[in-house]
Subunit: 555 residues, 2 copies
């Protein structure tokens, strides 16, 4: 792809103008390093789609140049596409101990374990991938073992932050390595690539430790069982719940598949510490008095099939919420999930629970894992880059991040706000963005990857809004007169039994459309005429536009 | 319905456990007074539905008892169902001058003007409707001319607040009549029915006047055109924009059908004052220098077809946003609309606009029209009711409102948290809730009212997620052998051209299902067998479950 064989290039295959599907790449000459392989959950307009992953076209065209995939951390929007990536590319994967714990859960599900080379690294590792040297620095986020990356290229150093905030008192001992970061900045950063999620929010992110004291307080006050719903991967938060449960002499049960799996991974790999004998099985909850039990459960985002939603409607087999129990929602709803979460809160109140919810500052049960404006400015200040590309955010976040960069000294004109696929090329110290590579959303639907496109989605949309009407006419081969039908079947449109008159007129319009052709063998014309006359009639009568499918059978 | 002919009853046909579709009723003996006739917009799970209105069953069964419909104010969630109501019920409608302005827009659209008796009232009106006397008091909200209602019944007085906040410095001169409210409370309130929208929010609602100074400031700073998007019905806000435009010597253009219509109503009826010569047509915008133009537009909720969304993508014919223009979003997104609004903000930034957005407190461009906790407590304190029914809110809001009531002296056990349809009966001073009347959502879909039910919606859902497959087989009448087919057509499932193998196997499974019956005339069994074998096969192959429609034609 390079216009010049020695140019340094950076591009995103996902993560720009969206939250999710993060995948970035750095290329120097014939060496490509891919950073992250994230998935994104579809919004409701993508009817029936299960997952969105990046378009791998460019990588497939340059397969032999890919030196490896580096994962910054284990969140879904950074590892959710890993199975689809590894089915296409035989390259080594570099990630931390905890990240691989979550990756292995995925690979096991897809029966891919053992197929790929998984190389465990930490913030002190150093790699040589083709002509590119790679080193790392530790950052704080809402999951253990997060990495920032430094790429040492002949053209200069490129820093990729990963997801981060500055937390000087994290709940674990994984402190941001500010001294190392200062040293990296001192040595000179040609290009900084930094995440932008909270670029609209003023101030500095609150510390995770704030959650601990509020959690303790809520546990002290609680008279019944205490349910806490949070992201299973937020291991620090899980550890804080363990601590509060210990202080109030409670056993701990885990509800929900991902809570059980991820806490298991965290325990096995030494990221969470739960005393022997403290964990109980969901089935044992009722054996203890309510004041002696705490429960960690999935479903903080309102997912209708997760533990919390089912508990809230009394449909969880092994546990129930009774009046006087406390339920803590220790996570903020991600934009788009507010309604689902509110519905659960309503149901919890109906059960008589004491529900602790609301935005971080008002309950203190959640802090964001993404740095606010002051965090972002601190990163920019430490790295003092010549060029800057804000990533990981919607356009307005990238826009604000650019303003922040300029406020701490990045020269105007040296920030590139890119789109997925746009390539920033740096050659002889000068950066420009003039070209793009193929990019887009690849839809995973059932086991199909990329086989559902715009036409199928457009059909689903029409079907979803107004339903459909199948009209079958059997016609004689010899004289093209109607032998049988028209027969109509409708679904998602109107009840047939309420609409006899309507369907009678549809049949007579279809009959007319067939007869009007006077025996000519023009099936497409006949179908078009049926669609048109029936469609117009139905719209006049119902103001709906069902999909009309004429089927002509010749016998 | 009454168990006793002289009981006083209150019930909701909409507005409880939801935001929207407000409709309440008070019945004493054989007199029913209906309050509000609101609509609700469907969420995305109600595929294709245009509007939700209350179920009128109980009212239809008691048509002859309805003495009138009183509208508290002109918001959609209080008047959106009026056309459907008036098509069913010939009763007088009582509302204020401004509310009728908005009602008439609706009735004209439905060609219903002149069919009903519309009686204009104000806060000093007194009515006698059957045995029930009715008087009113003025409340502040985010639309002019809002009423609270006092029902004087032989059993005692019932107060219905309507939507309200206490705003001691409203932007218009429609002050809340606190003295009158105190007097009503002093005389004794048997039952208070009060709205609960902001019962979760601490403090007192900020005054609308706060918006004025922030608006002025933004106009002063602006160097290009200023676009302000807000609810057209928030006439005070419109007036503040007019004031800021006058101060900065700008002409004013109105974009969007409802902005034009509602401002027209407000001008005609004297609720907004726009100097002669200030209003310009959208087509004239380009004739003025940018610093001399302000624009009020619809679309603050992210509606994709409204003016703001089209301006943001450069698809509005008569006006464009250029770099340096200012766009003010002077409204908060209603829960569920956040994503649509964010998308517009992104697009506005891409155009180079200076966008002022965000929650009320951070930009000062919006305040809520619904009272916070201290407002609600003040209402409860003024009215000092014996019984209390919180309305107009989701369950968690009603729950918090009950706690507020108890905190200011309403006796425990005297608050009734009801569901739509639940009836609170008061007899000889004692209230109880033991019975319910028919209630529910009536779906308006195209011109159909109530003809789309759960089966149609379930079908739409299946069609929307996995599409469908029609399988047509023609069978001979004489020996029940296949004459033609099976032929398959799929929509919203997979591209036929990518799936030849799949569809070939479908055809052979269908053929087998027909042949397995050895000529027996059991169409239903045949169809079931086709559905089952094809369905299982497709799920194994694709992990999708399209709707399968076998059509057997006998000739």
């Amino acid at each position: 792809m390079s216009t010049n064989n020695n140019a340094l290039s950076f591009f995103a295959l996902g993560g720009i103008n969206e939250i999710g599907k993060n995948m970035y790449a750095l290329q120097y000459a014939d060496d490509i390093i891919v950073v992250d392989a994230g998935g994104k959950f579809p919004d409701e307009s993508l009817l029936g789609i299960d997952l969105i992953i990046p378009d791998f076209t460019y990588l497939e065209e340059n397969k032999e140049k890919i030196r490896g995939l580096i994962l910054t951390h284990g969140h879904e929007d950074h590892i959710g596409a890993i199975s689809y990536f590894l089915k296409k590319f035989e390259v080594p994967v570099y990630a931390t101990h905890f990240t691989f714990g979550l990756v292995e859960l995925k690979l096991n599900e897809h029966h891919l374990m053992g197929d790929s080379e998984l190389v465990t690294i930490d913030s002190e590792s150093k790699l040589e991938l083709g002509q590119i040297g790679v080193s790392f620095f530790r950052v704080s986020h809402s999951i253990p073992d997060c990495l920032g990356i430094v790429f040492h290229t002949p053209e200069g150093n490129v820093v990729h932050t990963g997801d981060f905030k500055f937390d000087l008192t994290p709940a674990n001992n994984q402190k941001t390595d500010i001294h190392k970061m200062a040293e990296i900045g001192r040595q000179g950063v040609l290009l900084l690539v930094s995440e932008s999620t909270n670029a609209e929010r003023k101030g500095l992110t609150p510390s995770e430790q704030m959650v601990g004291s509020h959690m303790d307080e809520a546990f002290m006050k609680a008279t019944g069982k205490v349910f806490v719903s949070t992201f299973a991967s937020n291991v620090s938060r899980v550890q804080q719940v363990v601590a509060s449960a210990i202080k109030t002499n409670r056993k701990l049960a885990l509800l929900g598949r991902s809570m059980v799996n991820v806490v298991q991974v965290a325990m096995e790999r030494g990221y969470v510490d739960i005393p022997d004998g403290m964990l109980i099985d969901a089935k044992q909850i009722e054996d203890f008095t309510p004041e002696r039990v705490a429960i960690l459960c999935t479903g903080s985002q309102g997912e209708p099939m997760a533990a919390l939603a089912r508990l809230a409607t009394g449909n969880y087999r092994d546990a129930s919420i009774y009046p006087g129990d406390t339920v803590i929602l220790a996570a903020s709803p991600i934009p788009g999930n507010e309604k689902g979460v509110s519905k659960i809160i309503d149901n919890l109140f109906k059960l008589g629970a004491n529900v602790i919810y609301g935005s971080g500052s008002s309950t203190g049960m959640h802090v964001s894992g993404h740095g606010y404006q002051e965090d972002l400015k601190l990163m920019l200040t430490l790295m003092q880059p010549t060029y800057f590309v804000p990533i990981h955010g919607e356009y307005r976040m990238l826009h604000h991040h650019r303003l922040l960069a300029e406020s701490v000294g990045v020269e105007q004109g040296n920030t590139f706000i890119i789109k997925n696929g746009d390539v920033v090329d740096i050659e002889h110290g000068a950066a420009r963005q003039t070209r793009s590579i193929p990019n887009g959303d690849t839809y995973v639907d059932g086991i199909g990857v990329g086989d559902v496109g715009d036409i199928v989605l457009r059909d689903r949309k029409q079907l979803s809004e107004d339903g459909m009407l199948v009209i079958v006419v059997t016609i004689s081969k010899s004289d093209r007169k109607i032998v049988s039908g028209p027969d109509t079947i409708s679904r998602g449109f109107v009840y047939a039994r309420n609409s006899e008159e309507l369907l009678k007129e549809v049949n007579s319009l279809a009959t007319k459309a067939v007869n009007d052709l006077h025996g000519e063998r023009q099936w497409n014309v006949m179908k078009q005429n049926i669609k048109k006359s029936v469609g117009q009639y139905l719209f006049r009568q119902t103001k709906r536009r069902p999909m009309i499918l004429p089927i002509i059978i010749e016998i």
